[in-house]
Symmetry: C2
Subunit: 158 residues, 2 copies
């Protein structure tokens, strides 16, 4: 569990550095698929990860608005702000938490039950999926995307 | 570990059904990013997953050639053929296997060591990443992609 979160954070950091080499207008332009843009995707990943961690802890969630985060700098600052809490939660994760239940109320009023293990893996898969979208848009810009490889990152030794 | 493999298989099956509604030429056309096409991506996912499972077991690997799998039907048949062995390995997975070592020889002759836990998570992330690319190409075709949600799939109950 922890390894895949650490993989995501490492890949995300590399995408920030990749973004530094790209003009800001290209990071902001509307694109086909996903949430529709490179910086918006990174913002969305940060927001969703933090939101799930908050919800599992029974804490208040709030929907950040991307309109207020229209620069790489601002997105990275938001990430740094949220990361502390997320890392703390992930590093304290124990296998026994996998089966704890989380009840969520859907927009239509239905109440659904997920396990914490499902929610955590949902958050992991959510980020990897959106990073896959960035890799296509990178190629459309004529740029090599960040490697999605998990092996070779020395992730087992921590 | 197992949950994320089962998630991938479920999502992959939904992409096959999605493909049934798309003209075969659109599945085969060259696209920007990834391995360059929808069916080729599904083929690549199958090949890579099976190859890693084979390598961990010390069994021979072989590189299938996509030229021989230019239809949805053929790709699904390959998947069915490989899946049996992959499922058997994944369902027998125990946490103690996480730290077993796997030595791999790189194209330049270097020998690198990964843990089995890294390799398995690499295979998981590999598929999710490529499925993210499919979701962009789906929108380019004007079609709604398969949901990447992990929650709501009843994956905790197995």
């Amino acid at each position: 569990m922890q390894m895949l979160f650490r993989y995501n954070w490492m890949v995300r950091e590399e995408w920030y550095r990749w973004c530094e080499e790209v003009e800001e207008k290209d990071l902001l332009v509307d694109r086909t698929g996903g949430v529709g843009g490179i910086l918006h995707t990174l913002f969305h990943i940060i927001d969703v990860e933090w939101s799930w961690i908050r919800l599992l802890q029974g804490k208040s969630d709030f929907q950040e608005n991307f309109q207020e985060y229209q620069s790489l700098q601002k997105v990275r600052e938001l990430d740094a702000k949220f990361r502390k809490e997320v890392e703390q939660f992930v590093s304290a994760w124990e296998e026994s938490m996998d089966n704890q239940l989380f009840q969520d109320t859907m927009p239509d009023g239905r109440i659904v039950t997920d396990t914490w293990g499902e929610v955590m893996r949902h958050a992991i898969a959510h980020e990897i999926h959106h990073i896959g979208q960035l890799s296509v848009w990178a190629r459309e810009l004529g740029k090599k995307p960040v490697s999605a490889n998990l092996i070779g990152r020395n992730l087992a030794s921590k």
